[in-house]
């Protein structure tokens, strides 16, 4: 047996690099979160230097916690991540099962399906919010206008007109509104990441034990029970992977929030940090520390839930 120390040492470059990548900015953030530090101040120019003499203890944390937007941002962070994960997993499983069997043009459909995953987040957001979801000039607006026009014509039609006059006219939905902007983000990110889930589930399904499945069919198992008792358990590990990777990516969503509504109604923690960082670095840093804590809570939670499946 060769020496085991060398192989262990092979981990060190990666670990050390990531440690530096984490520790240096994090410790600076931690330091800034305990001092008064603003970029520009006409009243208190001394606060523009990050120095120990500007120490203010938990003042920044206090200020952030008392901010109306803080709780909202935490809620939105969770709402957005959880909804996207849930939707992509459900859609991903359904689509993967759908295209798992051969049919004419399967490879083309696969290409079409996977494409959204390669699109840049900023492109995704401007594309959806301007050209598709816009209530007047986007496809949504045009579709609503067209349908309402058809409805008008039908109402004027003799004989059946009374029937259509019972139908309400459609109202376009504004996806930049306070009430809806989080859903716009969820829709566009789900569009982008469902292909990823499909990709992972699809490859997993290909290694499913077909003999077992055929045996089950002979035993009289229906489509549903096949899915429930054979396919789903088989997918548990890929599902864990999809959940994990997406939680990692979507906790730090930024461009989509900015482009949809500038944080109105969909503000998450990273975006709140960005708003503070306009001038008040102390508050931005304190919010950053809260975001780190949230991330760690989620990481521990995920580890509890799916860590075992994930690491085996």
């Amino acid at each position: 047996m060769s020496d085991r120390r060398l192989p262990r040492l092979l981990q060190t470059p990666a670990v050390v690099l990531l440690l530096i990548w984490m520790i240096v900015p994090l410790s600076m953030t931690l330091f800034f979160s305990f001092i008064r530090y603003v970029l520009n101040s006409l009243r208190r120019p001394e606060w523009t230097e990050p120095s120990l003499s500007n120490w203010r203890g938990f003042g920044n944390y206090n200020y952030v916690l008392n901010n109306n937007d803080f709780l909202l941002a935490v809620q939105n962070s969770l709402l957005i991540v959880c909804s996207i994960v849930l939707l992509t997993v459900i859609l991903g499983v359904l689509i993967a099962v759908l295209i798992n069997k051969a049919f004419p043009g399967r490879s083309i459909v696969r290409v079409l399906l996977i494409s959204p995953f390669f699109v840049m987040p900023a492109v995704n957001a401007v594309l959806w919010i301007n050209m598709i979801l816009d209530p007047v000039l986007g496809l949504q607006g045009l579709a609503v206008e067209g349908l309402n026009g058809t409805l008008q014509n039908l109402r004027a039609a003799p004989g059946i007109g009374w029937f259509f006059s019972l139908w309400p006219e459609l109202q376009p939905i504004s996806f930049r509104a306070t009430q809806t902007s989080a859903y716009a983000v969820i829709i566009m990110v789900t569009w982008q990441w469902t292909p990823f889930a499909v990709l992972i589930f699809m490859t997993s399904l290909q290694s499913e034990d077909q003999q077992q499945k055929e045996a089950a069919v002979l035993d009289g198992a229906g489509v549903w029970s096949q899915f429930r008792f054979l396919t789903l358990p088989h997918l548990s590990r890929p599902i864990a992977i999809v959940v994990m990777i997406q939680a990692i990516f979507h906790l730090s969503l930024y461009a989509e929030i900015e482009i949809v509504s500038r944080g109105n109604g969909n503000k998450n923690l990273p975006y709140l940090i960005g708003e503070f960082a306009n001038n008040n670095i102390g508050a931005a840093s304190a919010t950053g520390i809260f975001a780190v804590i949230l991330a760690n809570i989620i990481a521990i939670f995920l580890l509890r839930m799916i860590g075992k499946t994930l690491m085996e």
Binding site: N40, D134, L137, N264
Partner: protein
């Protein structure tokens, strides 16, 4: 400084050579950060002649407004050096000048500083020193569809009353045929809906702060102004107004979907429908009209290694010669010259012929007062020239969008804005 330098000490030893190499070496080269607006894009072509004449190579970095501001701020606040010329607005210029982030500008006599419109000069200076030179400037005015107004039997006069404007919007409003009475900014942002709403509030006699810099958003004037704005836009505006700013409304207007539009004077040069009329912004009986004042200006950040070349470039880009260069350029012509910066531009017959909105724009700019007045104790019209304003304006903008969509009542939105603004001002040490 101690914490900063301690952390740096460990790492700064590495790679010092790299930083030196970029600074000098290959002659004169300027890195210029610009917003991606039409005039700026044209400038990149016009400036080819400047490069030929002076040998100064120009690197353009075009960015979205918010990202530009963020990047220029983070660069300047960390000592500068990445950009030689930056595109900033009227909100930043006096503050950054005061903070020593940007260099004072000194121009040759031929430049004729006096020709720059007084309102622009005032807004871009700090304590009498000019810190940024206007590339183009704008105010706001009413633009409306003459044909629709005539058909509805309404008119909008200069400095008309808000009630009359609302009546005109109501008369032109015809959603079944895809025409909405009033298209106004609703997209959150201190430079977007907050800018427009502030001008409405000004005309209602409201102000952001009192003499002690305490926020006044809970005043009855604000309440009246916001109620009016929300009422006007939610009744006679297009669906999704909370997502509309300049670009979105321009698209709507050019699709003939808007009756009237109150926005930047620069919009007039983009309008396609020939049936357009202009009017000076409305007011509610106060001497301050509801029109703003803004300039996209050039400044030299402190720490630029090429400050002299940068000043030279700015002198060229904001000169009378530049206006001539654009007007005589085969690709652009007099309809594309930057406006709102120099009085002499408006005297040019070629320009007057090409720009029908020139007189209205000039009048709007001249009637805006950035300096403190009886009604407001601070510098700025649709913003306040203090470093904390963008943060306040961002929160305010979101609250207003929430009020517009009905997610909150006007009263709640204003109360929450007041609370946030008070918190920010307290944090910033204006008062205990």
């Amino acid at each position: 400084m101690s914490g900063k330098s301690a952390l740096l000490g460990a790492t700064a030893l590495v790679c010092m050579a790299a930083s030196g190499a970029i600074a000098d070496g290959h002659g004169k080269e300027l890195t210029i950060a610009i917003v991606n607006n039409g005039h700026m894009i044209n400038m990149q072509k016009v400036a080819e002649a400047y490069t030929e004449a002076t040998g100064t190579k120009l690197n353009w970095v075009a960015l979205e407004e918010g990202v530009l501001r963020e990047q220029v701020t983070s660069d300047t606040a960390t000592g500068g050096g990445q950009y030689d010329v930056i595109n900033i607005g009227m909100q930043e210029a006096p503050i950054w000048g005061a903070a020593g982030w940007i260099e004072p500008l000194n121009f040759s006599d031929a430049y004729d500083v006096e020709d720059i419109l007084p309102a622009m000069r005032a807004g871009l200076s700090h304590e009498g020193t000019l810190y940024a030179a206007p590339f183009y400037g704008e105010s706001s005015m009413v633009m409306y569809r003459k044909d629709l107004a005539d058909a509805a039997g309404v008119t909008i006069g200069d400095n008309d009353s808000w009630d009359n404007v609302k009546a005109a919007a109501a008369a032109m409003h015809d959603p079944d045929n895809g025409v909405y009475g009033a298209c106004l900014r609703g997209k959150p942002g201190w430079g977007d809906n907050a800018a427009f709403i502030t001008t409405v509030a000004n005309s209602f006699g409201a102000a952001w702060f009192d003499a002690d810099m305490k926020p006044q958003l809970d005043s009855p004037e604000w309440n009246a102004a916001i109620n009016f704005y929300v009422d006007l836009l939610s009744n006679y505006g297009p669906p999704g107004s909370e997502g509309n700013s300049f670009n979105e409304i321009l698209a709507l207007y050019n699709e003939d979907k808007c009756g009237l539009w109150i926005d930047a004077t620069i919009a007039a040069s983009f309008l396609e429908n020939p049936n357009v009329a202009y009017a000076q912004s409305p007011n509610a009986g106060n001497p301050v009209g509801a029109n703003w004042l803004w300039a996209w200006a050039f400044a030299v950040p402190a720490g630029s290694p090429n400050a002299d070349a940068a000043q030279d470039f700015i002198e060229w880009a904001t000169s009378k010669e530049y206006v001539q260069a654009v007007g005589n350029h085969p690709e652009f012509g007099w309809g594309s010259v930057p406006t709102g910066q120099r009085a002499s531009t408006y005297d040019l017959p070629e320009f007057q012929a090409a720009a029908k909105f020139a007189a209205a724009e000039m009048a709007a700019i001249n009637s805006a007062a950035p300096e403190p007045t009886d009604l407001k104790p601070y510098v700025g019209v649709q913003f306040v020239a203090i470093p904390e304003f963008p943060q306040i304006g961002v929160v305010f903008g979101q609250e207003m969008a929430a009020a517009l969509t009905g997610a909150k009542s006007v009263e709640d939105a204003l109360a929450d804005s007041q609370k946030a603004a008070d918190g920010i001002m307290r944090e910033a040490g204006y008062y205990e």
